[in-house]
Amino acid sequence: MSDGFKVLYYVNQFFGQIGGEDKAGMKPEFHSEKIGPALGFEQLLKGEGQVVGTIICGDNYFNENKEESLEYILNLVKQEAPDVFVAGPAFNAGRYGVACAEISRAVAEELNIPVVTGMYIENPGLDTCKQVAYVVSTSDNAGGMRKALPAMANIAYKLGKGLEIGSPEEEGYIARGMRKTIIVEKRGSLRAVEMLIKRLKGEEFETEMPMPVFDVVEPALAIKDLSKATIALCTSGGIVPAGNPDRIQSASAQKWGKYDVSGRDALNAPDFYTTHGGYDPVYANEIPDRVAPLDILKELQKEGYIGNVYEFFYTTTGTGTSVSNAVKFGTEIGKELKEAGVDGVILTST
């Protein structure tokens, strides 16, 4: 067996047979034996691989002590140096899914070890790891274990043996969003004509290049009473305090800044200016409120038209900022605003 490839397994306290919710606070532990799903897993590796141990960690502990847990687990993985890392399956369990996802991503990205995990398609951990790990699509509860494990083991086997992994449909994993160039039997024009005929007949057809789906967020409910509402001001127009203390990039922004404006009536020059690289800055530098109208909002507050202007003003630059960064900024800023109890947001863009 010593010639076979090595698999290291991760499970939570429940599947690690430590206990239920009461044990969710346990710290990560390493066991050199095969526990829970890891036990059956080895039998599915066609005698060519062995599970060298099981890491068990409480779901709550992991989620509350992410950095520490990750560091500890990564060190363990480094020591054991497996050929393949396996986590879960987590089905639709949220905290377990996030743990599997974060660990999978860290192992794949930082240690460059191939990873297999399993999740239900709606598991909140999925997006974190599907690009770097093979995530087998599972049912939403542990009843799907018997189906999930063979699929995961089959991928682990191929990864361990250095074999090519087939398509998501063949192997049962969730597409990672990678566009793989392949040679197929039918030439493009024939595929086009067949697609056309299906379309004309009203039959189902599948495009080869799905357009990006813009997920739509339902409009939030309107503010009931403006005179009691706290309004926050945000801009992607790059208005920053003189000297740009946080070094917000003029383009392709990597970060956002927030500045206390509770004691100000306006974002006036020369205390503020624009660092945005995408437009003629003359007008904005003359009167920065032309980009981020703090002055008017303060007036409306004084008049009692709105209750309050939120004490912090948020800013970044829009030009060339990647979609993923924009999403990240929005998520971070939104979280702060939500926690601060802000009722509405004005975002200005140039």
């Binding site: 690289g277 995408g278 437009y279 003629d280 060339g320």
Partner: protein, 123 residues
């Protein structure tokens, strides 16, 4: 002259009078074009060429039209998308400097083809 040519190609700058010469990269040239579009100028020629090979060109000339009252949203979107597309390619690649003189010539010839399409129009 009705049109303005924004270019970093010295051959174009030598040959034409209505030129805004940008002493810099293609990306910088595209960004200058964008700034003009944001001020209300319109695109006459598309900011990108028609082949991948031409993306390697260190030179690019783009024709823009007179300033209009209102910003042309479609053109603003085209130039923004073009910059994204250009950057996406060139983040991984470099301009092809070895044959830069040939790129100069071809950029000029493609520009001339575009200008000839625009002859005899006034709108």
């Amino acid at each position: 002259m009705k049109h303005l040519i924004i270019t970093n190609n010295p051959l174009v700058a030598e040959k034409y009078e209505n030129v805004l010469w940008t002493d810099g990269s293609v990306e910088k040239t595209l960004i200058i074009v964008r700034d003009f579009i944001h001020q209300g100028y319109e695109l006459v020629s598309h900011p990108l060429a028609a082949s991948l090979r031409m993306l390697f060109s260190p030179y690019r000339s783009i024709i823009i039209d007179k300033k209009k009252e209102k910003l042309n949203f479609e053109h603003a979107q085209i130039i923004e998308d073009s910059i994204i597309k250009y950057k996406k390619h060139m983040d991984l690649r470099k301009t092809d400097e070895k044959t830069r003189d040939d790129y100069k010539k071809i950029d000029l010839l493609l520009l001339e083809a575009a200008l000839s399409e625009e002859q005899g129009k006034w709108y």
